[in-house]
Symmetry: C2
Subunit: 254 residues, 2 copies
Amino acid sequence: MPRNPEQLRALVEGYLDELVLTPELGTLAEPMRHALGGKRVRPVLCLATGDAIGAPVENLLPAAAAIELVHSFSLVHDDLPALDDDRERRGAPSVWAQFGEAGAVLAGDALLAEAFRLALSYGTSAVARELVEATLAMIGGQWLDISGTGELDELHRLKTGALFSASIGCALAAAEVPSAEQQPWREFAAELGLLFQIVDDILDGDGYVEDMGPDGARRLADEAAERAQVRLGEIDADTDVLSGIVSDLASRTV
Amino acid sequence: MPRNPEQLRALVEGYLDELVLTPELGTLAEPMRHALGGKRVRPVLCLATGDAIGAPVENLLPAAAAIELVHSFSLVHDDLPALDDDRERRGAPSVWAQFGEAGAVLAGDALLAEAFRLALSYGTSAVARELVEATLAMIGGQWLDISGTGELDELHRLKTGALFSASIGCALAAAEVPSAEQQPWREFAAELGLLFQIVDDILDGDGYVEDMGPDGARRLADEAAERAQVRLGEIDADTDVLSGIVSDLASRTV
């Protein structure tokens, strides 16, 4: 019987709490751990995908944690004064505000490298390849955002969608699901990433809301959620928990 | 017959010139390519190791380039105002001075991720594992340097030695040399990394020169070079070119 999101989140928290960072990083572990707050949306999605396939969820934990580390890396660097200049993150000082800019640059670098170390703990290198491609897309998206040259859809696909898709892609890779069977999962992942970003924009009042107003953005979100559910229904796996995650993402208020 | 360092350097330059970066990075490719100057010491060492073992040197090129990208990533971030605040690098503006700090943060991130992508192009994940461990050590070394808490030997081992060793370690991994046969190579690599850093300090007048004066540092360098040559002599491979590289590194003036 698949675990519910709360149970999966508890597994992720436990794994991250006990994660042994590379000893040579020394006291840099402090800003790194500070960076690792968050709702665990992506790692829970990774574990829920593994669970739906019937893969032992414990085997998915390094991949799930790797995705969360990449996500955290991106936030630490994005918050820097030269980028988004955010002094706060999740109601606490951002990493640079608390530990200085140098610490934030290096803690971000180290989170990214640790993520690859975790992804490389599998027998297959497919998990790490999935993660590196998403990371590159995400960096490209952040650059588009900063240089202000991208279309909104493209920007979101890169900046948010790629790592969202990788949450599912890494689960498929870790569970060694053959490429030929991955397509419906990937279509689901793309819709889910879009949904997440539209709801983000609704909550922040920017992006799609600026483009099409709050009602238009809400309609877009509902349509993406509907398509995600349809995709999910086409997949031959125990997808009830994932279906619940779609509903939660569509109606979330934080 | 093993190629000489100039021939190997030309191979690296050609490979880097033609390297196709991830398309999603878009115009971020410009600061990334700007960052990729340099003497190619590490990739040449990687190729020379492969050549000495008798591995097809072309197969070593992605690993050699990956090491150079990690090296470049570290310089781009180290040059940032919050870290070493260097406006110049190799007689040209550093990446942040030319492209802004945001561009330098993201170009560094992208160089690191591209390095892993290259390292993951091998059938074995051993190359990427070698690279990620060296990267983590290097970041730890940079953090020690900035926070000013480390011993000089430990600092150098992490900040410079680890990636130097990985230049050789990645060649062994790419050529699939069994772990049991790698030990003499790794001892050679450690001496070479130390040699490189001592000579760096002699040229910059800091580090070991501050600790033991110019003559003391010179003696230390000569002893490291001597030990590196002895280690090399114990290895059953065609190491003449590598022996020449040791001599060149010991007597370099830039």
